[in-house]
Amino acid sequence: MNVKKINRRLQKNGFAAFSVHETEDGLVLTGKSDNWDEIVNAGFCAAKKYGRTHVINDCVFTGDAIPPIRAPKLVDKAIDGMKPDVLVIGGGVVGAATARELMRQKLDVLVVEKEYDLAIGASGRNDGCVHPGIDLLPGCEKHYYNVRGNRMFDQLAKDLDIEFDRCGQTVVFDSKKLLPLAPLIKLYFKCMGLGNVRVMTEKKLKAFEPALRDGMKLGLFFPTGGVVCPYNLTIALGENAAQNGAKFSFDTVVTGMETQGGKITAVHTNRGTVYPRAVVNAAGVFTEDVAKMAGDRFFSIHPRKGTNTILDHKTVSMVRTSYSLISELKEEGHSKGGGIIRTVDQNVLVGPDAFETYKKEDFTTEAKNVAAVFQKQGRATERLRQSDAITYFSGVRAATFEEDFIVEKGRKCANIVHAAGIQSPGLTAAPAIAVALAKMCGEILTAQGKKAEKNPDFDPHRQGIPRLAKLPDAERAAYIEKNPAYGEIVCRCEEISRGEIVDALHRPIPCVTVDGVKKRCRPGMGRCQGGFCGPQVAKIISEECNIPLEAVRKAGEGSELLFGKTKGGAENG
């Protein structure tokens, strides 16, 4: 590590106010700025892409106060004194998948999640693409886990009874430059393990994706790409873990750790102290904070925000698979640049964009960002219109300066494993990352003298909530005969029945909120955005779970929908 060279590079590139020095943890970046982008760019300048020595950001940001973690107000002793073999911190896709993998062994597993449900962070706020790994080269962690994760999806979707469409991914070029290289491109991707990539010239491409604008010169179709509903996947993984005995504690934030001799001995939360043998750090944008608590901070996360827009079902014919345009216009940034994606629920998803932010949980949306995404993606098809948007949402990626995943055991802490820097293609990679993390946990436990023992009762299968609207009439009628509530439609836009909503309230990991139900079976996901079914869903929650209507929440703590009875409502009981 040539620190001098890096410092010279910082000087030369206009980051004179910054410098690095080497510590036993990594490459520590110091400096001061009121401009967050400048700090991030200095980090990039100091870092080596895919490098294994990480830039640790100790810069002082003077531009604003960095908001504290969004922590639950709840304080109790719900998990106090628990001694799980493995404590998983984070109920995102990696945490849920890891918990499930761990259950293949006879282990006591506890997952803590600071939010009220699974997949509230980046896992529930992405485009759902299962990536072929087009731009990844062998040697980096992203490539390793993406290739393996991608291959696992067909079986995983079958086992978990979730929708997965291996529809492929198309990359479109509006320049002729690559045309002469077409035969080589095909060979290249074949060698890279991406299968039989289809190379299409203008005419074939137009026939393949008819909504593309004229004048697209070259299209590459990657058959191993796919789409999945990201929160559905995360919830399904979590549910299957729970069915196999994993425990989940929500509204539970890790507040500190006790370490002794390079080992975590206790983990403090707002719901009590637990004493795990091993800890999985799957805390997304907060992985650095968790690592720090364990005395094992050897990397830094710089949050990167992106916004996606969902369009009305009516527009779904504008995309058969998913496509993104690589234009001659120079593009900046570290993201593929988003695309137009046909979701498994037959909506069109547009986005995402990418912006650096110092706010790890900034889920707000901005009109200008949505407009910019439409302008950019509209270069691929003229059918894209903002007026077809039914909703938009933001997520925050947990990027490291090296732009690679960190999937490894603690460097200084003996009983932690980290899954950090899990941004795109994190969703694709998650099942493979989980396998690796579970293996590492097994090694940690073995080192502590706990013999590995297979869980003979492990069942990888999970049954989802039936989606009546997608069934043929006869099958649908059979369901209704068994349970007439399947014949009462509550959500008109997505055609969701009362029976499905009731099912969603009685899952292995129930989430008794309007948004929890919405994520599990889709009422309110349609064009009226719950305008009609919202109150009915609230009422079903109230009746089914025996809680007063005014206690029914939209989402987490403090999000109650109602303030109590009206004057007349009180009289009528």
């Binding site: 009226c528 403090g558 109602l562 109590g564």
Partner: protein, 414 residues
Amino acid sequence: MADYDVTVIGAGPAGLAAALAADEKGKRVLLVERAARMGGILNQCIHDGFGLLRFGERLSGCEYASRYVRMVEAAGIETTLLTFVTRVEKKDGVFHITLVTKDGVRTVTSTALVLSTGCRERTAKQVGIHGTRPAGVYTAGTAQYYINILGEQPAKRVVILGSGDIGLIMARRLTLEGAEVLGVFEAKSTPSGLTRNIAQCLDDFGIPLHVSHTVTRVFGDARLEAVEISEVDEKMQPIPGTAQKIDCDTLILSVGLIPENELAETLGVTLDPRAKGPVCDQNYETLVDGVFVCGNALHVNDLVDYVSESGASAGAAAADYSGKARELAELTADGGFLYAVPERLDTAGDLSKTVVFFRSREVREKSQVSVSVNGETVFTKKYQRLKPPEMERIEVDLSRVKPGDRVTLELREA
């Protein structure tokens, strides 16, 4: 032979009137309703002002609905409640309608179809509200359902965006229930709701109306904590530097209604981008033979009386539907109109009492509406004042119109 002569989808005021009219002609009628009771949105409208034209009385929405429901029940019309139409297909000139109920899935056949599917509210996302996604952002109709149907209070400190009628009604309703309505903000330079509602719902309760203002952002992670209000220019774009933050726990949106025509679209019905409902002729028959449309599915009405009227006309015409070829001429409204319906005239049918509904694009004083056929004016009417929130109705004798004639609706200064 089909199971029914006429199937009416949606038992709100339009569908109830349509079913009654078809039944009066002695036809076999099926009335389909997805909710547990008939009446549609009227059931949650406990305020008065309904029925002045139809019954010559001021009724509440519930009373107005129940009068029609009683008539439908008295006539013995076959109705199916809690019934959802999942699919409609036209095969060999007959409609096959697939219905889902608690009893299962069944398909019925019908010679004619009346779509009285109503409308839905535009949402926060559709008007580009950004910021966080907290609880406490409701459309006016949702808030109305909570209060009037469930007896629950959704708000304490309220900002209302949009001066549509439901928003105005809710400003009063929330105030009566003890909430503090901080103001109604309207992006347009003129109010969207009826004048009488502004007087009775805002002025009488001292609730301020701010035109040329909109909500540009919402704040709060769990529950709404505040909204940012900005002044807007003539193009309704926020003017920088005018933003102010208002603390509130609830934002109510009354920002427009959209006719629900998803079912119609699956049948290949052409929509009018101006009226946002299906293009139809004077009998409310769409461009797909045998498919009729009425009420708010056709265009958003401000008076239920007109909804019932179009329902009755559509129902009667559907009962008379014989599959005989139509000979259509176009009725074109000039740019002075927001829209006008119908957009077509069936010259093979009766045009002697053609009813035209329209709204002006802008507020105008002293105007004249005229109808001309091939350049020759055949009808004029003068108005002291025209404004977009108030729909106008004219009845014109257009018997002379022949296929291919150019029929235009024009708006001029009087």
